[in-house]
Amino acid sequence: MQYVDVRETPFEPWQYLAAWQAQQLPENARSGATAVFVGTMRDFNEGDDVTGMYLEHYPGMTERQLATLVAEAAQRWSLDAALVVHRVGEILPAQPIVLVAVWSAHRAAAFEACRHLMETLKHTAPFWKRETLSNGTVRWVERNTPG
Protein backbone atom coordinates (compact mmCIF):
# COMPACT_ATOMS: atom_id res chain seq x y z
CA MET A 1 0.00 0.00 0.00
CA GLN A 2 1.45 3.34 -1.10
CA TYR A 3 -0.35 6.61 -0.66
CA VAL A 4 0.37 10.31 -1.33
CA ASP A 5 -1.86 13.13 -0.11
CA VAL A 6 -1.09 16.74 -1.14
CA ARG A 7 -3.65 18.86 0.69
CA GLU A 8 -4.65 22.47 1.32
CA THR A 9 -6.35 21.76 4.64
CA PRO A 10 -4.63 21.23 8.03
CA PHE A 11 -4.23 17.72 9.40
CA GLU A 12 -3.41 16.20 12.78
CA PRO A 13 -0.69 13.60 12.03
CA TRP A 14 -1.50 11.09 14.80
CA GLN A 15 -5.20 11.05 14.03
CA TYR A 16 -4.35 10.74 10.34
CA LEU A 17 -2.09 7.75 11.04
CA ALA A 18 -4.68 6.08 13.29
CA ALA A 19 -7.38 6.43 10.64
CA TRP A 20 -5.16 5.46 7.70
CA GLN A 21 -3.70 2.41 9.41
CA ALA A 22 -7.13 1.23 10.56
CA GLN A 23 -8.52 1.54 7.02
CA GLN A 24 -5.57 0.42 4.92
CA LEU A 25 -3.60 -2.06 7.01
CA PRO A 26 -5.65 -4.98 8.37
CA GLU A 27 -4.63 -6.09 11.85
CA ASN A 28 -3.36 -9.46 10.65
CA ALA A 29 -0.95 -7.70 8.30
CA ARG A 30 0.64 -5.39 10.85
CA SER A 31 4.35 -4.82 10.21
CA GLY A 32 6.93 -5.30 12.93
CA ALA A 33 8.47 -1.84 12.46
CA THR A 34 6.92 1.54 11.75
CA ALA A 35 8.97 4.73 11.40
CA VAL A 36 7.36 8.17 11.18
CA PHE A 37 8.56 11.72 10.65
CA VAL A 38 6.50 14.87 11.12
CA GLY A 39 7.74 18.31 10.06
CA THR A 40 5.98 21.22 11.75
CA MET A 41 6.02 24.92 10.87
CA ARG A 42 8.06 26.99 13.30
CA ASP A 43 7.46 30.64 14.22
CA PHE A 44 11.05 31.66 13.43
CA ASN A 45 13.56 31.20 10.60
CA GLU A 46 17.07 32.57 10.15
CA GLY A 47 16.69 34.76 13.23
CA ASP A 48 13.35 36.33 12.22
CA ASP A 49 9.86 35.93 13.65
CA VAL A 50 7.63 34.22 11.09
CA THR A 51 3.86 34.72 11.30
CA GLY A 52 2.69 32.76 8.26
CA MET A 53 3.76 30.77 5.26
CA TYR A 54 2.46 30.11 1.76
CA LEU A 55 3.55 26.82 0.23
CA GLU A 56 3.47 26.96 -3.56
CA HIS A 57 3.71 23.74 -5.55
CA TYR A 58 3.55 22.37 -9.10
CA PRO A 59 0.17 20.61 -9.26
CA GLY A 60 0.52 17.31 -11.06
CA MET A 61 4.31 17.08 -10.88
CA THR A 62 4.20 17.23 -7.07
CA GLU A 63 1.97 14.16 -6.76
CA ARG A 64 3.88 12.40 -9.51
CA GLN A 65 7.29 13.06 -7.97
CA LEU A 66 6.13 12.03 -4.48
CA ALA A 67 4.59 8.82 -5.84
CA THR A 68 7.89 8.04 -7.61
CA LEU A 69 9.90 8.62 -4.41
CA VAL A 70 7.53 6.42 -2.41
CA ALA A 71 7.63 3.63 -5.01
CA GLU A 72 11.44 3.73 -5.18
CA ALA A 73 11.77 3.56 -1.39
CA ALA A 74 9.15 0.79 -1.14
CA GLN A 75 11.09 -1.30 -3.62
CA ARG A 76 14.58 -0.55 -2.27
CA TRP A 77 13.67 -1.39 1.35
CA SER A 78 10.89 -3.95 0.66
CA LEU A 79 8.41 -1.83 2.57
CA ASP A 80 4.99 -3.22 3.49
CA ALA A 81 3.43 0.24 3.19
CA ALA A 82 4.39 3.92 2.86
CA LEU A 83 2.49 7.15 3.29
CA VAL A 84 3.35 10.79 2.50
CA VAL A 85 1.08 13.69 3.45
CA HIS A 86 2.11 17.26 2.56
CA ARG A 87 0.38 20.58 3.05
CA VAL A 88 0.22 23.31 0.39
CA GLY A 89 -1.26 26.82 0.47
CA GLU A 90 -1.51 28.98 3.59
CA ILE A 91 0.13 27.46 6.68
CA LEU A 92 0.34 28.85 10.21
CA PRO A 93 3.05 28.29 12.86
CA ALA A 94 2.66 25.02 14.83
CA GLN A 95 0.75 23.37 11.97
CA PRO A 96 2.19 20.13 10.57
CA ILE A 97 3.63 20.52 7.05
CA VAL A 98 4.72 16.99 6.21
CA LEU A 99 4.12 13.45 7.46
CA VAL A 100 6.16 10.49 6.21
CA ALA A 101 5.37 7.01 7.55
CA VAL A 102 6.74 3.62 6.49
CA TRP A 103 5.92 0.07 7.58
CA SER A 104 8.50 -2.71 7.32
CA ALA A 105 9.38 -6.12 8.74
CA HIS A 106 12.72 -4.70 9.97
CA ARG A 107 13.49 -1.64 12.02
CA ALA A 108 16.70 -0.70 10.15
CA ALA A 109 14.77 -0.65 6.87
CA ALA A 110 12.00 1.41 8.44
CA PHE A 111 14.38 4.04 9.85
CA GLU A 112 16.46 4.27 6.68
CA ALA A 113 13.52 4.40 4.28
CA CYS A 114 11.75 7.08 6.34
CA ARG A 115 14.83 9.28 6.52
CA HIS A 116 15.66 8.76 2.84
CA LEU A 117 12.11 9.67 1.84
CA MET A 118 12.30 12.92 3.82
CA GLU A 119 15.66 13.86 2.26
CA THR A 120 14.62 13.11 -1.31
CA LEU A 121 11.29 14.88 -0.77
CA LYS A 122 13.12 17.98 0.48
CA HIS A 123 15.51 17.97 -2.47
CA THR A 124 13.24 17.02 -5.35
CA ALA A 125 9.53 17.53 -4.63
CA PRO A 126 8.39 20.81 -6.31
CA PHE A 127 7.34 22.85 -3.26
CA TRP A 128 8.42 26.42 -2.51
CA LYS A 129 8.02 28.21 0.81
CA ARG A 130 7.20 31.92 0.95
CA GLU A 131 7.17 33.24 4.50
CA THR A 132 5.65 36.35 6.05
CA LEU A 133 7.65 37.96 8.88
CA SER A 134 6.23 39.79 11.89
CA ASN A 135 7.37 43.12 10.37
CA GLY A 136 5.27 42.42 7.27
CA THR A 137 8.13 41.41 4.98
CA VAL A 138 7.34 38.59 2.55
CA ARG A 139 10.26 36.48 1.29
CA TRP A 140 10.95 33.20 -0.49
CA VAL A 141 12.91 30.63 1.49
CA GLU A 142 16.09 30.25 -0.59
CA ARG A 143 17.13 26.80 0.52
CA ASN A 144 16.27 24.04 2.92
CA THR A 145 18.25 23.42 6.10
CA PRO A 146 20.74 20.56 5.78
CA GLY A 147 19.54 17.07 6.76
Binding site: M61, R64, A125, P126, F127, K129
Partner: protein
Amino acid sequence: MPIKVLFFASLRERIGQSQRLLESDAPLTLQEIWQRSSGEAHLPDNVLMSVNQTYVDANSLVQPGDEVAFFPPVTGG
Protein backbone atom coordinates in the same frame (compact mmCIF):
# COMPACT_ATOMS: atom_id res chain seq x y z
CA MET B 1 0.89 21.70 -30.88
CA PRO B 2 2.35 24.52 -28.80
CA ILE B 3 4.91 23.97 -26.04
CA LYS B 4 3.50 24.98 -22.66
CA VAL B 5 6.06 26.75 -20.44
CA LEU B 6 5.53 27.21 -16.70
CA PHE B 7 7.43 29.29 -14.12
CA PHE B 8 7.16 28.86 -10.36
CA ALA B 9 7.84 30.72 -7.11
CA SER B 10 10.55 33.42 -7.10
CA LEU B 11 11.33 32.71 -10.76
CA ARG B 12 7.68 33.27 -11.70
CA GLU B 13 7.79 36.64 -9.93
CA ARG B 14 11.09 37.64 -11.55
CA ILE B 15 9.96 36.65 -15.06
CA GLY B 16 6.60 38.29 -14.41
CA GLN B 17 4.48 35.44 -15.79
CA SER B 18 3.39 32.01 -14.68
CA GLN B 19 2.63 30.40 -18.04
CA ARG B 20 3.40 30.91 -21.71
CA LEU B 21 2.64 29.03 -24.91
CA LEU B 22 5.37 28.75 -27.55
CA GLU B 23 4.51 27.78 -31.11
CA SER B 24 7.00 25.42 -32.71
CA ASP B 25 6.85 22.74 -35.40
CA ALA B 26 10.24 21.31 -34.45
CA PRO B 27 11.99 20.18 -31.26
CA LEU B 28 13.61 22.98 -29.26
CA THR B 29 16.43 22.95 -26.73
CA LEU B 30 15.67 24.08 -23.18
CA GLN B 31 18.10 26.97 -23.74
CA GLU B 32 15.99 28.11 -26.72
CA ILE B 33 12.79 27.73 -24.77
CA TRP B 34 14.23 29.71 -21.86
CA GLN B 35 15.31 32.56 -24.14
CA ARG B 36 12.04 32.73 -26.04
CA SER B 37 9.80 32.45 -22.97
CA SER B 38 11.72 34.42 -20.33
CA GLY B 39 13.29 37.13 -22.47
CA GLU B 40 16.57 36.47 -20.63
CA ALA B 41 19.66 35.45 -22.59
CA HIS B 42 21.20 32.93 -20.20
CA LEU B 43 19.62 30.08 -18.29
CA PRO B 44 20.87 30.51 -14.67
CA ASP B 45 22.81 27.57 -13.21
CA ASN B 46 20.51 27.10 -10.24
CA VAL B 47 17.26 26.91 -12.21
CA LEU B 48 15.65 23.44 -12.20
CA MET B 49 13.79 22.12 -15.24
CA SER B 50 11.19 19.52 -15.98
CA VAL B 51 9.61 18.22 -19.17
CA ASN B 52 6.20 16.59 -18.84
CA GLN B 53 6.57 16.78 -15.04
CA THR B 54 9.83 14.83 -14.93
CA TYR B 55 13.21 16.36 -14.09
CA VAL B 56 15.54 16.87 -17.07
CA ASP B 57 18.91 18.54 -17.60
CA ALA B 58 19.57 21.60 -19.73
CA ASN B 59 20.64 19.52 -22.74
CA SER B 60 17.27 17.83 -23.20
CA LEU B 61 15.21 18.38 -26.32
CA VAL B 62 11.57 19.42 -26.05
CA GLN B 63 8.94 18.25 -28.53
CA PRO B 64 5.91 20.24 -29.70
CA GLY B 65 3.07 19.57 -27.26
CA ASP B 66 5.38 19.04 -24.24
CA GLU B 67 4.92 20.80 -20.91
CA VAL B 68 8.11 22.50 -19.71
CA ALA B 69 8.70 24.09 -16.30
CA PHE B 70 11.47 26.28 -14.91
CA PHE B 71 11.74 26.74 -11.15
CA PRO B 72 14.15 27.66 -8.32
CA PRO B 73 15.59 25.12 -5.83
CA VAL B 74 12.73 23.43 -4.01
CA THR B 75 12.08 24.05 -0.31
CA GLY B 76 9.32 21.68 0.78
CA GLY B 77 9.18 19.27 3.69
